[in-house]
């Protein structure tokens, strides 16, 4: 073996970047390995003609600004990551149907007061329960800070200071919102964000959902000014600045063990010796291909058998560059949800088919005027699927047809819902499907996420089981399938927290 590292981070997606920077900030000799030729995973960009597209970002939560930094903002500050963020003013416009079947077309601004005012306007009688709702999610914010600050939790302190959090956090989100007497139509409006967690309201834990609303509405979301590739490059720049080493186009093939403790990584560039490994790889893949079968804990085999049908949402993204500005076209909103129904349970079932109606339109130039050359704009559509079966059963020709059909559907959605025909202005169009994500990310069935945060496997339950899960000495799992859930913010936090645990282990071992 050649060089020896304190930590090897495998996979330079969001969690890997966050973990790698956290390790070098803590003074550890760190190697970052990436199988692709560039870092970032989904946090990247690609060019078509004179346009640059963000492959994945809609909006990022928990960053905050100024004195009110969120968890992500604090991590970025601690680790010296300075990204050029743009704040998103409105939560969304949603064109759909309420659960009772009546039509919905609402535009909801961010910020507690404006948000409540808007919902009260659409659904009179919502104000009082919504005030309670926001008090509750604020308490959850404080409880979360207390719970995840790295010190032991005192149940008595929690009962005294976070009584309502404890009362509600065991329940699904629909039950809690009903208990707060929020009118169903207002629940439908609040619930528009449900796909961000991938599990319908009657199943997703309220602690998780409520906290998400707090992060997106109260604290407001942000987007990177120059695509998510800029975020990635900011991380990489900081990593190099502090002496980190990164190998690209280099595949981690196998984890090496000394007894039952990890001692290195076999890579396509040879063996690398290390004390700790942070693996930003779905555990399904680690256990199947990357370590001796006899060292995979029995409980882990069972956990992944229990999770085998619970892979998180898969996506198709349809990207357009138009040779007219948003203003000229009349595309005034940053984010528009087109949903067949606001009933999250029904919609979740619909998402099993690739022919589902669900679609999210993002018009970047509305908040980033220079997202494309003057007189043009870039927009994207996101379609969700809760099952990947359809994609794997297509022939090549059927696959191309399916992509074309999705493009048609996007054009149709804009025509039908916004009365705008973008057809004459298409200068570039590109489609990414679960196959595309599988190809570039290598994640199971092409999900950029991890495992559904179903009621039995929610973030709270995972956090409680943190010692029991992934119990392999020196090898920790970071990333979308890990304990903190999936998405940009969650995986940055996860990477940083897990790096902290690995560094603590190193220091305990005298390093």
């Amino acid at each position: 073996m050649a060089a020896k590292y304190d930590v090897v981070v495998v996979g330079s997606g969001n969690a890997g970047l966050s973990a790698a920077v956290s390790c070098v900030v803590q003074g550890k000799k760190t190697l970052l390995i990436e199988k692709h030729n560039l870092p970032g995973g989904v946090a990247s960009s690609f060019s078509r003609g004179r346009f640059e597209f963000d492959p994945s970002v809609h909006e990022i939560c928990d960053v905050g600004a100024g004195d009110d930094l969120g968890h992500v903002g604090l991590i970025m500050e601690k680790n010296g990551i300075d990204v050029d963020w743009v704040t998103v003013p409105d939560c969304y416009r949603c064109i759909s149907k309420y659960s009772d079947g009546t039509p919905m077309d609402v535009t909801i601004p961010a910020g507690r007061e404006a948000y409540i005012d808007a919902i009260e306007k659409y659904v009179p009688g919502s104000r009082e329960p919504l005030e309670k709702f926001f008090d509750l999610i604020y308490e959850i914010r404080l409880a979360k800070v207390y719970m995840f600050d790295g010190t032991p939790n005192d149940p008595k302190y929690m009962q005294k200071h976070f009584p309502n959090t404890l009362k509600t956090c065991g329940y699904d989100s629909l039950s809690v919102m009903k208990a707060l007497k929020i009118p169903q139509k207002a629940i439908d409006i609040i619930g528009v964000y449900w796909p961000y967690l991938g599990v319908p309201l009657d199943e997703v834990n309220f602690f998780h959902f409520g906290n998400m609303i707090d992060m997106y509405v109260t604290r407001r979301a942000v987007v990177p000014h120059h695509t998510s590739h800029e975020i990635t490059m900011t991380f990489m720049n900081r990593f190099y600045e502090l002496g980190g080493e990164a190998w690209f186009n280099c595949r981690a093939e196998e984890f090496l063990f000394d007894g039952d403790k990890i001692c290195g990584v076999r890579t396509s560039m040879g063996d690398v010796e290390c004390d700790q490994v942070l693996a930003n790889i779905n555990p399904h893949i680690i256990y199947a291909n990357m370590m001796p079968k006899e060292l995979v804990p029995e409980r882990e085999k069972k956990l992944y058998a229990a999770r085998k049908n619970n892979l998180s949402t898969r996506f198709s993204m349809i990207y357009f560059a138009l040779n007219k500005s948003c203003e000229e076209l009349g595309l005034t909103d940053y984010c528009v949800f087109f949903a067949g129904t606001a009933d999250s349970r029904k919609e979740y079932e619909n998402l099993k088919s690739i022919d589902n109606d669900y679609n999210i339109l993002i018009s970047y130039n509305n908040i980033i005027p220079d997202a494309s050359p003057e007189g043009t704009c870039v927009i994207s559509f996101t379609k969700l699927f809760s099952d990947g079966k359809d994609w794997s059963e297509m022939t090549a020709e059927e696959y191309y047809k399916a992509k074309d059909k999705m493009i048609e559907k996007c054009i149709e959605d804009v025509k039908k819902n916004l009365n705008i025909d973008i057809t004459p202005y298409i200068e570039e169009v590109e489609v990414a499907t679960p196959m595309t994500f599988a190809r570039y990310l290598g994640t199971p069935e092409g999900t950029p996420y991890g495992f559904e945060v179903k009621s039995w496997d929610g973030v709270i339950a995972r956090m409680t089981d943190i010692e029991a899960d992934f119990n392999i000495k020196g090898l920790r799992h970071i990333g979308a399938g890990s304990f903190f859930g999936d998405g940009y913010s969650s995986t940055w936090i996860n990477g940083d927290m897990t790096a902290g645990l690995a560094c603590a282990d190193l220091e305990e071992g005298g390093k």
């Binding site: 490059m233 069972k302 058998a305 200068e427």
Partner: protein
Amino acid sequence: MSKVKLKNYGLKDIMYFTNKPKEREKRIEAASSQKSGAVFKVNEKAAERHPEQQEFVIEKITDRGEGVKSYTLRKKDGTNPAFFRAGQYVVIRQEIDGKLIARPVSISSGPVETLDGTIEVTVKLVPDGFLSKYIIANWKVGDEVKTSGPQGLFYYEGFRDEKKVVACSGGSGITPILSMAKAIASGDEDFELTVLYGSKNRNEILFADEFAEVMAKTDKVKLVNVLSEEEAEGYESGFITADLIKKYAGDDKYSLFASGPQVMYEFLDKETDRLGLDLKHYRKEIFGSVKQPWTLPGYPAEAKDKVFNLKVKMCNKEYEIPCNANENMLVALERAGIAGPNRCRGGVCGWCRSRLISGEVFIPELTDRRRGADKKYGYIHPCASFAISDCEIEVPNNK
């Protein structure tokens, strides 16, 4: 602190919360530890559709004259080559004297032929070329050769392009256009294609029989030969000018597809300006790497003909190699046998993306297609960058 008054769920709620992990444990306990293995069908299909590498056997060689040969390739393992969009290319990866050389070559067959197990690539002998010379001289029937999967964005896109396409082509740039014509004949593509094909004289015209065959099958394809150094009955003469394009485009809306050498684009860019074509309607195939960078604006004259020292960091290895200022930096890496991933050779695809640690490089604007943040943080595409001082770069692994 909070003013929320919730109906008091009481002790039951705390129990419910603390019982969650127990429910999780129960689920895990109930699962089988026997099933192992990670088979993901979408991933398998993606790998099949976008193979990193395809291993072929040369089945047939067709001499097209004028130093141009076509090679019919059949997959070594008997499976079909990856399906492609007419107009795409593959990268040939050939080891020469122990060094891996990669070059993009156009596919001259139609997509439907992949279903019969073959693709045909066409190589033109370039006088100062490296790989083309080797291939023309050495490749023979029965040899095993390697290529990438299909690459490139030069294909018909029905949602963007007009139903009528005028293709302007010169020399061996005709190959992707031929593939499109074949795709129209087989029904894989549906548009009207008028090809303006520029050659010096009649002897230089490639693929005349193939086009005749296509036009016998479909009236959607028309071929107009444009001769620059000969006048002949039934041929246009001169260059492919705005007037000529207008003459064959007629009054309908059309998209212009261009595929040819660097000089053709320089000429055509001015003509398309005269036509008032916007970028949506003017698509260009990548023409490969910029030659003679010293002729371009902004190039520091003193750098020409110099050989600089290039320090290269590749994972845990370090090299010091000579870097000829007149050649792009990827060539220096190739000459040293340490070139990493690369595909388009024209600054577009980004596969050779590398970190410039120190030194100065010249990046022709024409082929500067780097990501915005890459420009900000000093990353380069070596295939479209020329050293103008000693440099240090960090490159992706070449294995």
